[in-house]
């Protein structure tokens, strides 16, 4: 039952906000809808924790501990982002970068975007999964080009074309999947239901499945931002409004990776080899290294953190590729930590860029002097994302690296190199932004930094203490992923 609330609220919200237009209280309404979604998601989560995995709507929706934790995460970050975007968008409007029309577009498609992601997470039908991924892409295209600047248009165009092509390939993969499945499950609706596929995965035809996986990996991988399919990501993150960047790298990437993982489970079952795992490890490693070296040469702060998202997605993909209880656990943990931390960072960065009036890092100096909260938020967030204890990101990196050390020692030098370079580059660029002399003005509005510190607080807590039920939840999910 809750599931319909979870999916319904955002869609209703989207439509409502589209009609309501940008009255004074539109941002609050947006936040309200997100809150409701969060409540519904919490409710759903509670149900799943109590009763375990469940099929809803005669098999159209399937909730297990793997996707329910992503649902919860998505709803939560969506809510905090809505909170953050409230003053942020106000300030943007005062700066004259946005008008009512665009804000209306922003609010409604924000809700629809969230809805689409939730649908992608909860559906049991690989086809619907694809459809909702595509829907998410389309809505975000509008969000990315919100400013209508040449740069933002270009970014959106690249985003659209590349992800469109990717997603089309994913569709081909899905078709191949169906092609393999219908011989066993017979044609008709059931042949694309993940639960059914999962039941018969050992009988599926390996040769078809491996082709299917290639298409699915390339397809959804484009949205995950795995190198060398990542080219759209930095542009889209850098040119879109900051709340959008936050949800893009905080949520959308996760959802895409979720899709990949669902497919991987099937393929592993069908082939019995760890081909899928190896492919993912390769992609992951390459992304981590390439991203690290690209970070080094960034001058635009949002672009830099976009690359860092690529790096972390690569790390997660690598972890999932290794498979095994510990690695999967670490991967899931890292997913959570990354989306919390990265969105927090984007919040802080957003206000920083507003107060400086530029995204160029040379223009942002000595935040601690003028806006201490922003400064500390950015500093702590950066430290957290760089994997420095006691923040949670370190916990997952700890597990990933130590596991890699005895599973695949050959990979560790690359990981080290990448982590080192990334640390040097990011920290070396952030430190002068936060510390030192400055002539930046203070922000006109009180910045909305509660989300930042809520996120960082959670991340810190997870680094020192992971609540038992949360841990069990991760363990179950990790077990589902197998590998």
């Amino acid at each position: 039952m809750e599931i319909y609330w979870v999916l319904g609220i955002p869609l209703v919200g989207g439509v409502f906000l589209a009609l309501w237009g940008n009255r004074r209280n539109a941002p609050e309404i947006n936040a309200l809808f997100s809150l409701l979604t969060l409540i519904a998601a919490a409710w759903l989560t509670a149900r799943v924790i109590d009763y375990g995995p469940m099929l809803i709507g005669d098999g159209w929706f399937f909730i297990d501990s793997f996707n329910v934790f992503l649902v919860a995460l998505t709803a939560f970050v969506a809510f905090t982002t809505a909170l953050f975007s409230r003053p942020y968008m106000r300030i943007e409007k005062e700066h004259g970068r946005l008008n009512d029309k665009r804000l209306r577009l922003y609010h409604s498609s924000y809700q629809i975007f969230i809805g689409a992601m939730l649908l992608a997470l909860t559906t049991n039908n690989m086809g619907i999964l694809w459809v909702s991924m595509e829907a998410a892409t389309l809505t975000t295209v509008l969000l990315v080009s919100l400013y209508r600047t040449p740069a933002s248009l270009e970014a959106a165009w690249k985003y659209f074309i590349l992800c469109g092509v990717g997603i089309a390939l994913a569709l081909f993969g899905t078709i191949l999947l169906y092609f393999a499945a219908e011989k066993i499950l017979g044609s008709g609706g059931t042949a694309l239901l993940w639960t059914h596929l999962n039941g018969v995965k050992t009988q599926l035809e390996p040769t078809v499945l491996q082709l299917a996986f290639v298409f699915l990996l390339v397809g959804y991988g484009t949205k995950v931002g795995l190198a060398p399919l990542h080219s759209w990501l930095p542009d889209a993150h850098a040119e879109g409004p900051t709340p959008v960047s936050a949800v893009l790298s905080g949520l959308l990437l996760n959802v895409a990776l979720y899709a990949v993982m669902r497919c991987k489970v099937l393929v592993d079952g069908a082939m019995g080899t760890d081909l899928a795992g190896n492919l993912m490890m390769g992609f992951g490693l390459f992304s981590v290294v390439l991203a690290a070296f690209l970070i080094k040469r960034q001058s635009d702060v949002k672009r830099m953190f976009a690359y860092s998202s690529i790096e972390h997605m690569g790390l997660i993909t690598f972890a999932f590729g290794m498979g095994g209880a510990v690695a999967n656990f670490a991967g899931l943990l890292h997913m959570t930590m990354h989306s919390l931390t990265k969105s927090a960072i984007f919040f802080a960065v957003g206000h920083a860029t507003q107060s400086a009036g530029t995204q160029m890092m040379d223009g942002i100096r000595g935040l601690i002097r003028t806006n201490p909260t922003i400064g500390w938020g950015l500093m702590l967030g950066t430290i957290a994302i760089l994997g420095v204890p006691p923040f949670g990101v370190f916990a997952s990196e700890f597990l990933i690296i130590t596991t890699a050390m005895h599973e695949h020692p050959w990979a560790t030098p690359f990981l080290l190199l990448a982590l080192g370079v990334a640390f040097a580059s990011i920290f070396g660029k952030v430190q002068p932004m936060v510390f030192g002399e400055t002539e930046l003005p203070k922000l006109p509005h009180q910045p909305a930094l509660t989300p930042v510190f809520i996120h960082l607080g959670l991340v810190l807590m997870m680094g020192l203490f992971i609540p038992p039920y949360l841990a069990d939840w991760y363990r179950q999910a990790a077990a589902l992923l197998g590998g």
Partner: protein
């Protein structure tokens, strides 16, 4: 009622420090309360922790599990003799320094004072946790908390670009080191997948390892801890970061934080890896000696007092690591007793260094406050204006120069004795070469004396080089008390070595399986065998004092004590100005001339018509150019190449996707 083990006290104190950190932050509006209340309380904690350490030395190892950390891996804590010894070190030094800080930090800008209070106590807590941690995760967390808090302490006044640069360099190298430690633990934890209990040190102790992986683990550990300890060539951050921090923090970093690296090295090599192979020791010995020499040479040519002390810390770390290598060689060769001797020497030296380096750093802090100058060229003659500081610092300077009967000499002496015993080794090469290596230690300590004469003489003796110095005024009582504490530590450690070694022996026993035999009685120190060598500092001191008094009395009794004051004679040169004294550069000049090959010297010679000529000779670390600059260039080059990938043209991006797709299709259907 339950009786509390030392361990319970220990982590209770950690908690207490965390709370203090919180209060420090909250008291932003009341700076007087921070200096008047928070820091004294912190000092009490330090005293308590050293008491806990003393208890822990005599009691058997105790375990405790904190219910935080990773789900399957809560924080395992353990207090054994080794941790206890380093707790004593930490507490002892930190107490003096913190008391000192009470006076030092008065009148600091309130916002940064609150932050400082927070990070300071976090720093103390982090170091303590490092010593208590008994599993890889807890250790890493504590380790990085320590690094992070010290980073924020270093960048306290971050308006200065050099300080920002120093902080960045520090944190970067610390992080790289930490990652290699992470790998080290990954290796140690061996093949055990999927059960987090494999991350506990208990598991690692009993893990079976092939020599190859054991060596890998050792090298990783040496790299990681070496990066923290400032082992050449990973030392570059140290001379930048330690001077940058406020003096009490510099004192803690040099005196205590570096020792946590030594602790980790001992823990991993002796406790977890059980010191299997001799060549590890040889490597460590060589690196240690190089570090010692390198450090002291650069200390001799510095002209910034805190930077000079930082370099001298590198030297001392080098000596300690050399002792570590020696102990390792002996141990791997099955010479337990000798290993115990070397181990005692290195632990003793760590303890000593904590005290005298702390003392010297706080001394410079006072000078800095009184004069506002860090450059030796602007100081001089302060013994007249800051008598307390001057005399107390003199004790520190003499001890670090390794002069009897103070503490620096004891550890040097023990170390040299250990070197002398190497002919007992089975490898012919080692027992020929190592006594020669001892000469390096001797050279290093002799140079240390040179450095200290320069340091002390230029700051406190002679005539003031700046007219303003005559207004330098005396220090506040907390500062004095802190310095007295540290100085008396130096003296006592020097005069009662047998008792101190008695305390240390449980730690030595834990590491080497034997404790150092003391063949002497309560006042003579005689390692291994009284006929070999012995040293009785107390007698020594007594005799010196007696002769001193006798001479004094006789001279005064038999002859008169008349004194006439006059201008200095100085070979009858008519006019004397302060600028005629040796500048710091001048004093370092012989060393620079002899060891010029190590450094890149940038000279500024004044032109002949300059009324107020200034000579500046700046000696730079050549390793920076040889090692770090190329790495930086390489990464830049690679990232430029990577930059070409992000071409900007959508067709290219499509081609990437296309190529990937085709490649994968070929790959899977091959």
């Amino acid at each position: 009622m339950l009786e509390l083990l030392p361990l319970d006290w220990a982590w209770a104190i950690v908690l207490y420090w965390l709370i203090l950190a919180g209060t420090g932050l909250l008291m932003q509006s009341r700076p007087r309360l921070i200096t008047g209340l928070v820091f004294p309380l912190g000092a009490v904690g330090a005293l308590a922790i050293s008491a806990v350490g003393l208890m822990g030395l005599i009691q058997p190892a105790s375990h405790f599990i904190l219910p935080i950390g990773l789900p399957d891996l809560p924080f395992h804590l353990r207090l054994d003799a080794l941790s206890a010894f380093f707790l004593v070190l930490l507490g002892g030094a930190a107490f003096g320094v913190t008391i000192y800080a009470v006076g030092y930090l008065r009148g600091m800008e309130r916002g940064s004072l609150a932050l400082l209070a927070m990070w300071y106590h976090l720093f103390l807590a982090g170091m303590t946790m490092v010593l208590l941690a008994d599993d890889a995760y807890a250790f890493m967390v504590a380790w990085e908390v320590m690094a992070l808090s010290s980073y924020f302490l270093v960048t306290t006044d971050h308006d200065v670009p050099e300080i920002r640069r120093a902080g960045f360099l520090y944190l970067l190298i610390a992080h790289v080191g930490a990652v290699s430690l992470l790998l080290c633990f990954g290796v140690l934890q061996g093949g055990a997948v999927a059960n987090a209990s494999a991350y506990t040190f208990d598991y690692m102790r009993n893990a079976e390892m092939t020599p190859f992986w054991a060596s890998a683990a050792f090298l990783l550990a040496l790299f990681g801890f070496g990066a923290k300890a400032g082992l050449v060539p990973l030392h570059v951050w140290l001379p930048e970061a330690h001077p940058a921090a406020p003096s009490p923090v510099s004192a803690l970093m040099s005196g205590v934080m570096l020792k946590t690296a030594i602790y980790g090295l001992l823990r991993v090599t002796f406790d977890l890896l059980n010191a299997q192979q001799g060549w590890w020791g040889t490597l460590a010995l060589a690196l240690g000696l190089i570090t010692a020499l390198y450090g002291v040479i650069f200390a001799a040519v510095q002209s910034d007092m805190k930077r000079l002390l930082a370099w001298s810390s590198i030297e001392n770390i080098g000596i300690i690591i050399a002792g570590f290598g020696l102990a390792l060689i002996f141990y791997a060769d099955g010479k337990g007793a000798l290993a115990a001797l070397a181990m005692t020497a290195l632990l003793y030296h760590s303890l000593n260094h904590a005290f005298f380096k702390g003392l010297l750093f706080v001394g410079t802090g006072t000078v800095l406050h009184a004069t506002g100058a860090r450059n030796l060229g602007r100081l001089g003659g302060l013994i007249r204006y800051l008598p307390w500081t001057a005399w107390l610092t003199l004790i520190g300077a003499l001890s670090i120069a390794g002069l009897p009967p103070l503490n620096g000499f004891v550890s040097d002496w023990l170390l040299l004795q250990a070197f002398l015993l190497t002919p007992g080794l089975s490898q012919p090469y080692l027992n020929m070469v190592i006594p020669v290596a001892a000469a390096t230690v001797a050279l290093a300590s002799a140079l240390a004396a040179y450095v200290m004469v320069k340091f002390y003489g230029v700051i406190f003796l002679g005539q003031p080089r700046e007219p303003g110095l005559v207004h330098a005024r005396a220090t506040k009582w907390p500062e004095r008390f802190g310095m007295i504490w540290l100085a008396s530590g130096c003296v006592l450690l020097g005069v009662f070595p047998t008792q101190v070694i008695g305390w240390i022996s449980p730690a030595v026993l834990l590491l080497t399986g034997q404790s150092m035999v003391n063949d002497g009685n309560w006042l003579t120190l005689a390692p291994v065998d009284a006929d070999r060598a012995s040293y009785a500092p107390l007698v020594f001191l007594a005799v010196v004092l007696v002769v001193l008094l006798l001479t004094f009395i006789i001279v005064r009794k038999i002859y008169h004590g008349r004194v006439r004051r006059a201008d200095p004679w100085d070979c009858g040169y008519p006019e004397q100005t302060a600028r005629m004294q040796d500048s710091a550069e001048g004093f370092g000049q012989p060393v620079r001339q002899i060891f010029e090959s190590f450094m890149r010297v940038e000279r500024e010679t004044p032109d002949p018509f300059d009324r107020k000529p200034q000579y500046r000779g700046d000696s730079r670390d050549r390793l920076w150019l040889l090692l770090y600059a190329p790495i930086a260039r390489l990464t830049d080059w690679i990232s430029d190449q990577a930059g070409r990938v992000q071409h900007g043209r959508i067709q290219w991006y499509l081609i990437y996707s296309f190529a990937t797709l085709i490649f994968l299709l070929v790959f899977v259907t091959r």
